[in-house]
Symmetry: C2
Subunit: 407 residues, 2 copies
């Protein structure tokens, strides 16, 4: 994985500050330790799930689903996996009915994931599904130690696995939350973690990623008042859900009151998929307000070398230049072309991440890269990267409404 | 369809100006006339497609696909349609291979849609598919009169349908571009247009929508320098692709150089789906920079009355308030709760659109509402709403790269 920045390096003092802060954070923020975790408990647990189980369903929302979905959808298109993975994450009844239509309950194992153990969406869905299929052996619960959910699970004698300490939902994909569903589908979680570790080591041990991540984070932080919209423009449909994961990670971590001021700050994440969004969002980047940075992601080897057929269409000879070109070459040329067009504008910060393929190692690297970048930028714009106090107000109002409607 | 605004009305002079400008635009901008069009040619054409055809594939990108996809995905979940509709819109080879895996070519009719008739993505895909299945009768081409694509189609004796004059891609969903694929799948395009017409008449004939749309557009335009990110927060998975259509419409129309200044302006669209994005983007809206307006969309009747089961879970009795509640009631309560939380902040502009259901009439109304709103805001922020000069630079660079690679 290579990350080329087309904007100036930042001053060493800022970078030094950020690096020291992140090094110190490692002691109390749990996600930094995940790449080296012992996964044998997860691997052993997978053996307990009968081979007759064809589907894994995650009942969870936000941090409990986005990470596993990102990795699964990144890897699935080019791999034969052992089981199918579904995500029940909406209280939209039509969506729930449609998802249930796609699975046979007897051949499904459910992972009910809720850090707090009381997430409204998760339990609305769980209650409904449990009433259709009330075999406790078909459910595994993942929650914080001592949560009400853990106590419930014990009463029905279902299995409970724990989130590691001090790992927030949006940083939890490399914990049991993401690893268990992925491992149950045949994804190689060992290699996934190795990929994450490669970025971690490069960053902390003065490797290539240290300078790169520090320069990028410092630039984003220094210019956050101007370039406060950060577009991730990924040239592959397989990165669609990675973009959704990024949006949560970035937006929920970096949209905050500052720690040492009364001000709101916020970096707004936008996920884009190329070339589709060249025909949608690109105009706004090219000619709209200069408030957006753009990170391109390119895949070197799509593991699919389908070529555009070598046929000339009468009256459309202008398109003969496409003939015989592999689609993967074309899509990367499209990415390069848009990148060059943006660079020609001179005032749009651009960088490009080139990943070798869509395998586990790459997925792990990309995840850890973005987690580190988020932590660095959060430190430099003076927010608490790891909380989300802004979502509580709506939850309290909902509770009142639910109580009023009952009473 | 009801639209309640929680922000102040604007001054009459601005609204009068916008209304007069839009009235005048009707003479030369084509989309305004689409609700009243004669659809008999489309309906008759549908009869030509054999009943043995089970799949309709749109080969097109951007304005050629997003509109039909939005309507199809809005209606499909609660309706039994006559055919399945697919969209081949990416040059990602993995995506193309996966889509081809899902259809039988002999039972598929292809609609190749390109306004200019030379869209690179469309023809890369078309060349590949035509080499697999070279029966001209399986293809219909939709393009501007006299385009190179029309001339090509004539050489292979395939049918050609035209886009109406002066209708841009992102405003074309209610023309042949959207209507033909939708009609071929059994969607009632007559009712779709009736829904659009209802908004049009209400707007132009001093109905409810005139005051509402003018107030909203004037507020957005007046405050565009502060509230330059416009979130559409739709509480239903069925509106996911409507959000994508909105993103293109809004971003590509309103991200521009001003007509009478040297400045870049731009309103950035964000599509969000509730309740999922409460666990992702909401934190940033609640506590981030005050640069976002939020429009909620609620559906009154989901046509699916599934209820949360009336079971109490030991140790989770706190969640009993959910028991027996229809999911559609819960999801709308979630929407109301988040809306109230945002309103309590006092400095986030909020409005809510309530639609009765997910049928054709509603889809048409929602489309025309957003098209009118876009035109009004574009007029008031002094941009040419209907062009997209910013996407040309990348296309030119790509052409050069393709030529260099050949030569």
């Amino acid at each position: 994985m290579i990350n080329k920045l087309y904007f100036p390096c930042s001053d060493n003092k800022t970078k030094q500050h950020a690096f020291e802060a992140i090094k110190a954070e490692q002691k109390h923020i749990g996600y930094y330790g995940l790449p080296e975790q012992d996964t044998s408990a997860i691997t052993n647990y997978c053996q307990k799930i009968p081979e007759t189980v064809e589907n894994i369903v995650v009942i969870g929302i936000g941090g409990s689903s986005l990470g596993a979905k990102a990795v699964y959808e990144f890897i699935r298109p080019v791999r034969t996996l052992t089981r199918r993975l579904f995500f029940f994450e909406s209280t939209d009844p039509v969506n729930l009915t449609a998802l249930l239509h796609d699975i046979v309950l007897d051949k499904t194992h459910f992972l009910v994931i809720s850090k707090s153990g009381t997430t409204v969406e998760t339990f609305a869905i769980y209650k409904y599904i449990y009433s259709l299929h009330n075999d406790p052996q078909s459910y595994t619960f993942i929650t914080d130690p001592g949560s009400p959910l853990e106590r419930y699970a014990h009463t029905i004698r279902a299995d409970v696995l724990h989130l590691p300490a001090n790992v927030g939902g949006r940083f939890s994909v490399l914990s049991t939350v993401g690893l268990l569903p992925l491992a149950l589908c045949g994804i190689d979680i060992h290699t996934l973690l190795k990929g994450a570790q490669s970025i971690k080591e490069s960053f902390f041990n003065a490797g290539y990623m240290q300078e790169t991540l520090l320069n990028k984070a410092a630039y984003y932080a220094k210019h956050h008042a101007q370039y406060h919209i950060n577009c991730l423009f990924a040239y592959s449909e397989s990165l669609k859900y990675f973009c959704e994961w990024y949006v949560q990670l970035w937006g929920e971590s970096l949209g905050k009151h500052q720690r040492h001021s009364a001000f709101h700050v916020g970096l707004t994440p936008i996920g884009l998929i190329g070339p589709k969004d060249q025909h949608s969002f690109l105009q706004l980047i090219m000619e709209g307000t200069r408030d957006k940075s753009v990170t391109f992601i390119k895949i070197e080897d799509f593991n699919d070398h389908t070529m555009i057929s070598d046929i000339s269409l009468p009256n459309l000879e202008i398109l003969d230049a496409l003939n015989g070109l592999p689609f993967e070459t074309l899509i990367n040329m499209q990415c390069d072309s848009v990148m060059e067009a943006l660079l020609n504008e001179k005032d749009i910060p651009v960088d490009v991440i080139t990943i070798p393929n869509t395998g586990e190692y790459t997925a792990g690297a990309l995840i850890f890269y973005y987690e580190l970048l988020t932590s660095l930028v959060g430190e430099l714009i003076d927010v608490n990267t790891y909380d989300q106090p802004g979502v509580e107000a709506g939850k309290i109002i909902l509770k009142e409404k639910l109580a009023a409607q009952k009473g």
